[in-house]
Point group: C2
Chain length 205, copies 2
C-alpha cells in the first residue's frame, strides 16, 4: 500500500482559491448553454460576457479509490439570466449512492436538489451553514446573492459525476429565480420532462 | 433503495455544538486514563477535575453504509497534564484505507498523525485551516491553545474506528507538549513501544 502524505490547506477569500490544490477547472459563461430557461437572454449574455468565468472548482483529489475523499472549493460568480440565477451545471454521482457535504464559506446561495423521481429540495447556503446531500440526490449550487458564492465540498473519491442527467430531463424540475425583492423563489421549469421510466413531470414540493 | 432527506446544519460557537446532530458522545477527563505520559499528574488532575468534560463529539451519521459520509464537530477543552496538552483518544479507521478531513473552526490545535510504522506528522490547526488525514494514518487532535478547539470532520460512513491501536503501542511516538513560551513542540514518548511486527521503536521525524 502506498502511504500518502498528510496535507494542510486553507481557503483564500474573496477569490475562493484553495491553496495548493491539486486540480482546478473552470466553466465560462458560454459553456453553460442549455442550463437556463430563457435561451434568447442567454445568447444575449454570451454575446456580451461569454468568455467570463462563471465558476471555478479547486480540489484536492489525492486518489480516486474507494474509501478516500475528494474535497475542494466551488466559487460561483453572481449573476442571472432573465432573473434565473447563475448556477453550476450540477450532477448526480456516477455511483449514485455516494453522498456529499457542502459548507458555505462566503456569499449567499441555494443547494438545489432533486431525486430521480423529481422530488425537489432547495436549501439555503449562508456562511457557516453545512448542507448534507444524501445518496441519490441530483444537486447543483445556485448563487442568489450579489457576491461570489464560495462553498467547501467533500465527497467519496470514487463517486464520479454524471453531468448529463440534468440536461437529458430538460433541466431540473425547479428554477431558482429572483423574487423581485432581493430574494429568491422556486419556479416550475416548463422544459422539464422528467426521467427515464417516468411518463409525466415530477411533483414539486 | 431508501431515500434520505437532505439536511442543513450549523455550528454554534463557542460551544462547538452541531445543531440538530443525530448523535453526541463525550469523554470526561477521568476516561482518558492511559493517554498521558505523567501518570501521577493525571491522577492528581482526576482527583480535582475527573468528572469534567474533556471533549464532545456531535455528528450526523445518516447511515454507515459504504459511499455515505459521516460529519460532525469535535470540541476539545483546553488544558494539560504536566505540560502535555489535552487531546482526543485518537484512532485509526477500522477500514484503515479510509481517509478523513478536519477543518479548524475555532481555537488552536495540532493534528497529530502517525503511520503503523511510526512515522509522525504534526500539522497545526488554526481557524480556516483544513487538514487531510490520508488512509492508513492514526490521528488525534490536540488542543494547544487557551480556548476550546472546535473542528469539523468528515469521513466515509463505513470507516469505523480502532481506538485500541494507540494504547497497544504505549501511545503515539510523539507527545505534544508546551514549549514554555505559549507554543507547542513534539517530545519523544518514552513509553512508546511501536506496533505488531516491529521490534524497535519507530523513528520520529
Amino acid at each position: 500500500m502506498k502511504i500518502v502524505e498528510p496535507t494542510s490547506t486553507q481557503i483564500v477569500l474573496p477569490s475562493g482559491e484553495l491553496m495548493g490544490a491539486s486540480g482546478r477547472y473552470s466553466k465560462r459563461v458560454s459553456e453553460l448553454a442549455g442550463c437556463y430557461a430563457d435561451h434568447g437572454a442567454f445568447q444575449a449574455l454570451v454575446a456580451l460576457r461569454g468568455d467570463e468565468i462563471a465558476y471555478v472548482v479547486d480540489q484536492f483529489a489525492p486518489k480516486t479509490t474507494e474509501g478516500d475523499l475528494i474535497f475542494g472549493t466551488s466559487t460561483l460568480e453572481p449573476g442571472d439570466v432573465a432573473g434565473e440565477f447563475f448556477m453550476t451545471r450540477g450532477h448526480l454521482h456516477k455511483k449514485a449512492d455516494r453522498s456529499e457535504i457542502y459548507q458555505c464559506i462566503a456569499g449567499r446561495g441555494v443547494m438545489l436538489m432533486e431525486t430521480l423521481e423529481g422530488r425537489v429540495a432547495a436549501i439555503e447556503l449562508v456562511p457557516g451553514h453545512i448542507v448534507y446531500v444524501p445518496p441519490y440526490w441530483i444537486h447543483r449550487s445556485v448563487n442568489v446573492g450579489p457576491e461570489k458564492l464560495v462553498t467547501l465540498f467533500c465527497y467519496p473519491a470514487d463517486a464520479g459525476q454524471d453531468y448529463e442527467i440534468i440536461a437529458a430531463a430538460g433541466g431540473m424540475a425547479s428554477l431558482i429565480v429572483s423574487d423581485g425583492r432581493g430574494g429568491w423563489r422556486q419556479a416550475p421549469n416548463l422544459r422539464y420532462v422528467g426521467r427515464a421510466d417516468r411518463t409525466k413531470p415530477g411533483s414539486v414540493e
